[in-house]
């Protein structure tokens, strides 16, 4: 305190003094961050370095250093392999199904909830539609298995409407995997996904609605001209995320629902990584598949973000 700042600054090299003073003043936040930093280095940066085994012929017994470099061999094997086309198609199609059905429905639901007047009913609708989000994916898939087994609830329902036999398992048919997977996802997440839109709607100024009333706008008119434009930035950002994450399949769920009979429509890159890597122990090969998948994913994210930035003011960066 007794030494004026300017004098002190003058006697020590400026940069070093700055850092030293920073540590002196902020030692507690830095100390608090040490465990967090270690965690990031070990569990995030460790695997990033480990991704190099995609370019090696990694043998666990030899270890990382002694395993032989093979360049792009695994990538070539994978891309020219028999399953590549099928996995690429399934990864993209499952995501497109999700985008086409799973993306607009939460927006619609949010608008409908937002239009409700009664507080109690509104609250109940929200509580109940959020609920499935909290049920574990294992249990959700368990329920799907029970409902789609021969003479299960859904199987019976479909046979009632179409006349098809009820003595079949819906999960055993490749042609039904995408609808079962997508619609159950909508069931589980539409309520939860609508929250963010509801939050955005609550930020729209009531004055806009009042002046629309004076202009004699109807309910649908107000939704179209005020509510939707009001949540446009939110919709766009979530759309960028959704398109950018298209190559990220929800593989935990696919693994719980698919079986060899439905690989034709259900097997995606990430489930393939799991089967070849964890279960069969082809570590290098499956790492290459995973790396290929994330590279495409990153390019897609850059691309979507660029498009969005070009056509609207909304972008991630």
């Amino acid at each position: 305190m007794s030494v004026p700042m300017s004098t002190w600054k003058g006697t020590a090299p400026v940069r070093q003094g700055k850092i030293a003073r920073d540590f002196h003043k902020n030692w507690f936040p830095y100390l608090a961050f040490v465990p967090v930093l270690i965690w990031f280095i070990v569990f995030c940066y460790g695997p990033m370095w480990g991704v190099l085994i995609a370019f090696k012929d990694f043998k666990p017994l030899l270890g990382f250093a002694k395993s032989e470099w093979v360049g792009l061999q695994h990538f070539r094997d994978f891309i020219s392999g028999p399953d590549f086309g099928r996995q690429f198609r399934n990864t993209v199609l499952l995501s497109l199904w999700g985008l086409a059905i799973g993306f607009p429905i939460p927006i619609l639901l949010a608008i409908m909830i937002n239009e409700l007047r009664g507080r109690f009913f509104k609250k109940s609708v929200q509580t109940i539609t959020y609920m499935p989000h909290f049920i574990s994916i294992v249990v959700i898939c368990g329920i799907i298995h029970i409902f789609t087994q021969p003479y299960g609830l859904l199987t019976n329902l479909i046979s009632f409407f179409t006349g098809a036999t009820a003595n079949r398992s819906l999960l055993g048919e490749a042609g039904l995997f995408r609808p079962v997977y997508t619609l159950s996802g909508v069931w589980q997440n539409m309520g939860w996904d609508s929250i963010i839109y509801l939050a955005a709607m609550s930020n729209i100024s009531p004055e806009l609605y009042e002046s629309a009333d004076l202009d004699g706008a109807g309910r649908v008119g107000k939704i179209w001209h005020i509510t939707l434009p009001g949540i446009r930035p939110t919709i766009l950002i979530l759309l960028i995320f959704a398109v950018g994450g298209m190559m990220n399949s929800n593989w935990e769920k696919i693994i719980l629902l698919y079986n060899p009979l439905t690989y034709e429509t259900a097997d995606v890159f990430s489930t393939y990584v799991y089967r070849r890597g964890i279960r069969e122990g082809s570590f290098s090969f499956s790492t290459a598949v995973g790396l290929f998948n994330s590279v495409i994913n990153f390019i897609l994210l850059l691309f979507t973000n660029a498009i969005s930035r070009r056509f609207s003011e909304t972008s991630l960066w």
């Binding site: 509580t127 019976n156 719980l256 089967r275």
Partner: protein
């Protein structure tokens, strides 16, 4: 909104259609859960031949399924494992997330930019499943309690959300405390944390649910069946597509060995399993619901 506006007939029609549609949606959301709960109390023989919807338990209703489950040592062990993993895991989650968010919310850190870069990179790039798996194995966590806790100790997204929450604590309060001679630790635990309760509640719920529902990491990281958490045991009872479980896949008969029985009983037990594993989460979440919008909103996007 506007209170003085008269309702036109078009408005009335709109409201009726809207309410009806939402009623249908709500029923569709609720029904599968209701069906499962009712089935779990039903007479197993009648249940196995029952077709169609189920609004009440099929008489004579029974608690037999629950009795069998709660006597099964494998279920009980896995339930206890889950409690340990969820308790310890969530504790670590909260500690790491609070510490990280605190540091990143400080305004005058010389290295803050660098730290943010280190963290942001991990949100766009990762090594992928296999390198991650090998790493966890190499540092000796395979088939170990800590494998359920340390690799998932932090979620970057949650940390960023919490940082935004911490940043919104009024600066004046912290400065006033500083002038009074409060230590930085005191400011963190007595001012910042108590004032951020809504965000903390939401993050706590996310971590709790995530830990409770986790099954994939246990499946690939645990070998001994005595260490399996509930979800993994349930997976073996409910999902027998023989691709998911690999070599460890058992099936109902192994887990619920005490049921000498009929397929009808096995069906009943499936329903009871769903109920006992889902109940805790569904009981907690309505109490935290009021924080959802706030929590999601604080973290919303550009945050």
């Amino acid at each position: 909104m506007t209170g003085y506006k008269r309702k036109t007939s078009a408005d009335v029609v709109f409201d009726i259609v809207n309410v009806l549609l939402l009623l249908i949606i709500t029923i569709l959301c609720l029904y599968p859960v209701w069906h499962v709960v009712m089935a779990s109390f039903s007479n197993p023989t009648r249940l196995s031949t029952h077709r169609g919807v189920l609004f009440a338990p099929l008489a004579p209703s029974t608690l037999e399924g629950y009795k069998v489950l709660l006597k099964d040592s494998k279920i009980l062990t896995s339930y206890r494992n889950t409690l340990v993993y969820v308790g310890l895991g969530t504790l670590f989650n909260m500690a790491f997330t609070i510490l990280g968010a605190y540091t990143l919310s400080r305004k005058s850190l010389y290295w803050k930019k660098a730290l943010m870069v280190i963290i942001t990179i991990t949100m766009f790039f990762s090594g992928g499943l296999i390198p991650w798996f090998l790493l966890v194995k190499n540092i000796g966590l395979y088939n170990n309690l800590w494998a359920m806790i340390l690799p998932t100790a932090l979620n970057t997204w949650n940390m960023i959300v919490l940082r935004t929450g911490f940043e919104s604590v009024p600066q004046d309060l912290e400065e006033a405390a500083e002038i009074d001679g409060a230590s930085q630790a005191y400011i963190l635990f007595k001012i910042i944390v108590p004032l951020s309760k809504p965000v903390l509640a939401v993050i706590l719920l996310y971590y709790f649910v995530g830990n409770w529902n986790s099954w994939f990491n246990p499946m690939i990281l645990l070998k001994d069946r005595e260490r399996f958490p509930l979800q993994l045991v349930i997976k073996e009872i409910l999902v027998q597509n023989d691709t998911a479980g690999g070599a460890t896949s058992g099936g109902t008969q192994i887990v619920v060995s005490s049921v000498q029985g009929t397929t009808a009983y096995r069906e009943l037990i499936k329903y009871c399993t769903i109920v006992i594993s889902t109940l805790p989460v569904l009981c907690i979440y309505p109490f935290l619901q009021k924080y959802f919008t706030k929590g999601v909103f604080v973290g919303s996007l550009k945050g």
